[in-house]
């Protein structure tokens, strides 16, 4: 059993589990949308005193912060007990291309060149991670949601705005991957 869980899960099972989580939250009278937490945290930190956008009753969002806390714990549990003993099965083309960009495929989830503690000795790493985070935070609030809120919850409810947002996610993602990453990595 544990061996089965330690394997990477097939896409259809993963997709099913994501819907299950969305339905649990719906059944509890909530909705599945992760990036709202970023706004809530800004509000908790007192941003509401300066900026109206953050002046709301963040306590009503406590359930989502608990979900966030759980997701960190879930990541930790996965690392301790459920991590894949084998290398990630990345497509050979991707591995070869990344090599050309100076990113070595290490078999793990994320490249050392960007995410190892050692990479922090280069100011460029700080800049890329911080800038990427800013784009995600700014963009998700501007678009009114992220992958969970738009691509999963919104598309499930057949919302045209969510489809437009997801098309935007892809325009941005393709621009970054095809045109920008080759210059900045």
């Amino acid at each position: 059993m544990i061996d089965f869980i330690r394997q990477p899960w097939p896409w259809y099972f993963s997709g099913f589990m994501i819907v299950l989580i969305m339905l649990m939250l719906i059944f509890w009278g909530k909705s599945f949308g992760f990036s709202s937490n970023l706004r809530t945290i800004c509000s908790m930190a007192g941003a509401g005193k300066k900026v109206k956008f953050f002046d709301f009753n963040w306590k009503a969002q406590q359930w989502n912060l608990l979900f966030l806390l759980g997701s960190i714990i879930g990541g930790w549990i996965s690392a301790q007990f459920l991590s894949n003993p084998n290398e990630l099965q990345l497509s050979a083309n991707t591995v070869a291309e990344l090599k050309g960009l100076g990113i070595h495929f290490n078999g793990a989830l994320n490249p050392d060149e960007l995410f190892s503690l050692g990479a922090l000795s280069s100011p460029k790493t700080w800049l890329l991670l911080l800038a990427g985070g800013i784009l995600v935070g700014f963009g998700s609030r501007y678009a009114g949601g992220c992958t969970s809120g738009h691509a999963i919850s919104g598309l499930s409810n057949l919302q045209l705005p969510s489809l437009i947002a997801v098309i935007g996610f892809f325009i941005g993602g393709l621009l970054m991957t095809w045109l920008i990453l080759p210059f900045i990595l």
Binding site: V19, I21, M22, I26, W28, C42, F67, S71, G74, G137
Partner: protein, 137 residues
């Protein structure tokens, strides 16, 4: 005690994100290069099953756990914000390989450098709040 269930749901979410490899920078790069079906399969399955579930919930007028009707809010028009905001989000998603959920899951998994991405995301959110009235929506 009522709140424990949200922590448990979050734990399940974190495990699903790791086991599906949707938190992987490599997988996101591979997706945007169209070199694997994995991520499309995950999102596609979730959307199809999700749409069927939402349709049934509406059709059958299902109630939630506190016996209240389940309502799905429609997203507001106009659409400019979704396209521009979505594009900005996509740039960051492909750069860091992480959307908001996976940032925190990765941090828990042991990628401590994700804290920098999270700080960036909070700054970006704050920046949006600061200048939102000047932006086209």
């Amino acid at each position: 005690m009522k709140s424990i269930k949200y922590i448990l749901a979050g734990i399940l979410f974190g495990i699903v994100m790791i086991k599906s490899e949707a938190v992987s920078w490599f997988r996101i790069y591979e997706m945007f290069r169209f070199q694997s079906f994995q991520m499309y399969g995950i999102i596609g399955t979730a959307v199809v099953l999700g749409a069927i579930s939402v349709f049934l919930i509406k059709k059958m007028n299902w109630k939630d756990a506190s016996q209240l009707p389940i309502v799905f809010k429609d997203k507001e028009r106009p659409y400019t914000r979704y396209l521009i905001g979505g594009t900005i989000f996509g740039l960051g998603w492909a750069l860091t390989g992480a959307c908001p959920g996976p940032m925190f899951v990765n941090l828990g998994y042991g990628y401590l450098t994700m804290a920098i991405v999270i700080i960036g995301a909070l700054l970006g959110t704050f920046l949006y709040g600061l200048i939102k009235d000047k932006l086209p929506h």
